[in-house]
């Protein structure tokens, strides 16, 4: 019988990560940021080499509930530190929005093994539908967001259909074609604003309170972006819960089985058509929600934010973090959004950085920063 590992390891680790994140986000000097990135990288390598990381993982998997609660508290506390620095809140919100989209992409790329480069297009569909409904018809955000999701889901289904007869390269080619087609169409329609995009997208209103307006309570000024940040965190929480449950269910199992061996899957009664379409639809729903959140956050949406490159970037995020591991995907997305923002002076080198990250991850650590683990099913280990 294996001993339950102590919660303490996980607790210390979570606190350390929290402190590291706060310090990193608070620093405004680029040289410092660069030094800190190197320091963190070294520290994480050391963590793995000394075996501490294994203890941390055991501690997490043995005390999942308590540590999840702790992490949630930390996450909720993070924006509090930056009420005087809306720029940091802006980056965090952006990163969380992208997380919603990449969690969805992970269903296709990580779980099902279908490399989908069109997630940027679904992101855009969600954003455009939500923004246009709000702008032209005055529909509330709370209705236009689900509408954006449904539209993205519908197009996900539509794109899924031609992929059913294809695999690997051909499948990726379908998604690339879809990404370019939707990009070009949106760019050339009049009612989408064409190359000018849509401006002045309204902020959501909840019980008469406009999420995004600055509030002063008892001398403390809370920037509007903080409220939006909390709203996005709530959405991210829901997305995580849904993705976690899908992963640890018959859906996730079927997706993995299809990824590993299609013929064997069919011989055990799986319908490839059904499972693959489900993967596309669920993934697109996430992307649609992310797109709608993005459009109403920035207040502006143009085709630049739904191009093929965005989809490519999202694939990089999933691979960097760890395919088929939700926590890994979160880490990958945060890194690829936050680090380039922190090193703004090297902005020209951003794409080069993404390309090099992609190649080096594939060559040296294809399983990603946090590799996937078998499902555990709450069973006691038998002797």
């Amino acid at each position: 019988m294996k001993d339950k590992s102590s919660i303490l390891t996980g607790f210390i680790f979570a606190c350390a990560v929290f402190a590291a994140v706060i310090i990193f986000m608070a620093i405004d000097n680029m040289a410092f940021s660069l030094a800190l990135i190197l320091f963190y990288a070294l520290a994480s390598i050391l963590l793995v080499k000394t075996g501490f990381w294994k203890k941390v993982r055991n501690s997490i998997s043995d005390n999942p509930k308590k540590l999840c609660l702790l992490t949630a508290c930390f996450v909720l506390a993070t924006p509090l530190f930056f009420f005087n620095n809306p720029y940091v809140l802006h980056i965090l919100t952006l990163a969380c929005i992208y997380c919603v989209a990449t969690i969805g992409l992970n269903i296709q790329v990580g779980s099902t093994g279908m490399v989908n480069f069109a997630q940027g297009a679904f992101f855009g569909i969600g954003a455009y539908v939500s923004a246009l409904l709000g702008g032209h018809f005055g529909v509330s955000f709370w209705i236009s967001l689900p509408a954006g999701m449904l539209a993205a889901g519908f197009f996900g289904l539509l794109m899924g259909l031609p992929t059913l007869k294809t695999r690997e390269y051909h499948l990726s080619l379908v998604t690339i074609a879809f990404a370019y087609i939707s990009f070009l169409l949106v760019m050339n329609f009049d009612w989408t604003g064409g190359p000018d995009g849509i401006a002045d997208i309204s902020k959501p209103v909840l019980f008469g309170f406009k999420i995004g307006q600055t509030v002063t309570v008892g001398g403390v000024t809370i920037p509007g972006v903080a409220f939006y940040c909390y709203m996005v965190l709530a959405f991210l929480g829901i997305a995580l819960l849904v993705a976690h449950r899908l992963h640890n269910s018959w859906y996730g199992m079927a997706w993995n089985a299809i990824r590993d061996d299609e013929i064997s899957s069919r011989c055990y009664g799986l319908s490839l058509r059904k499972s693959k379409l489900e993967a596309f639809v669920f993934g697109s729903l996430f992307a649609g929600a992310a797109g709608a959140l993005y459009a109403h956050f920035i207040g502006f949406m143009s085709t630049e934010n739904m191009s093929f490159q965005i989809g490519l970037l999202m694939v990089c995020m999933v691979i960097l973090g760890g395919m088929d591991n939700i926590a890994g995907v979160l880490v990958g997305t945060l890194l690829l959004i936050v680090i380039p923002e922190k090193l703004r002076a090297f902005d020209d080198y951003r794409m080069l950085f993404y390309g090099l990250v992609l190649i080096s991850m594939l060559l040296f650590r294809p399983q990603g920063i946090i590799p996937s683990k078998p499902r555990f099913f709450d069973l006691k280990k038998r002797v």
Partner: protein, 267 residues
């Protein structure tokens, strides 16, 4: 083995089943009948069309001509998914497991066709999904534990890391968990040593007594397995059935001897 009952209901019947690959006849007018509770051994030299036969039964290839009848339903033109749902379950010569999944995950996927929680329960009543998994996992580990308790205690190892024998055990367990009405085993003893082979024979017999109505078709080169478990033997050579009957009858059939001596001598 001599429980073979002439009055048993036929489970699977192929009539004049043929398969052509661009002019090459891989299978030529093969008639095979499998009754409920019967173990049929399918033997023949390499390239005789044995695996092709399985591929057609499971819908991976569509036959060029002929009929496949599974207790009144024609399997021709059905997808592998539908055929699996009718209770035809196979193992593969090269052990096609889901390599990046754990032993337990592989076994559980064997139960995929049973009743399971749907989307609503997955998203809103997650406890039901957990209970369902726990219950089926118990059963799955019991089945694989019959082969080797190491497999049931180390259930979260990835199957890609397992030895060939263990992979076969997981694959056969997975097939059993699918509750087949007709079980197709493609060279289950390949790569096993004599004691493991004996154990496998014992397991097949155990299966037979546990599921009395299940039919089994067994491709095997190891004649001790065939003589030990098969009620009936069908011999294929160059895609044609050259003999059928009990192992003792078939063994002395001159045509069979010629086929084996002329082809690769496995027997």
């Amino acid at each position: 083995m001599n429980t073979h009952n002439i009055a048993a209901k036929p489970l699977l019947q192929t009539t004049e089943l043929s398969m052509e690959f661009g002019g090459l006849k891989a299978l030529n007018s093969v008639d095979v009948t499998v009754s409920e509770g019967e173990v049929v051994g399918l033997i023949g030299p390499n390239g005789a069309g044995k695996t092709t036969f399985f591929n057609m039964l499971t819908g991976i290839y569509a036959p060029s001509a002929g009929a496949i009848n599974m207790s009144g339903i024609s399997l021709v033109g059905l997808s592998p998914t539908k055929i699996a749902n009718l209770g035809v379950i196979r193992t593969f010569q090269t052990c096609r497991l889901w390599d990046d999944m754990s032993i337990l995950e592989n076994l559980l996927m064997g139960t995929y066709m049973r009743k399971k929680p749907g989307l609503f329960q997955t998203l809103l009543q997650y406890q039901k999904v957990k209970d369902d998994f726990a219950e089926k996992a118990d059963e799955a580990l019991k089945v694989v534990g019959e082969f080797d308790t190491a497999l049931s205690s180390d259930y979260d190892r990835k199957v890609g890391e397992l030895s060939l024998v263990d992979r076969r055990r997981v694959e056969i367990s997975r097939a059993i968990l699918a509750r087949p009405r007709l079980l197709l085993l493609d060279e289950p003893a390949a790569g096993m040593d004599p004691s493991e082979t004996r154990q496998l024979m014992g397991d097949i017999k155990k299966l037979q007594s546990a599921f009395v109505k299940m039919g089994v078709v067994l491709i095997e080169h190891d004649m001790t397995v065939i003589s030990g478990v098969a009620d009936k033997v069908v011999i294929l050579n160059f895609g044609t059935k050259i003999a059928e009957g009990s192992f003792v009858d078939v063994k002395n059939n001159p045509e069979v001897i010629a086929a084996y001596l002329g082809g690769e001598a496995h027997a």
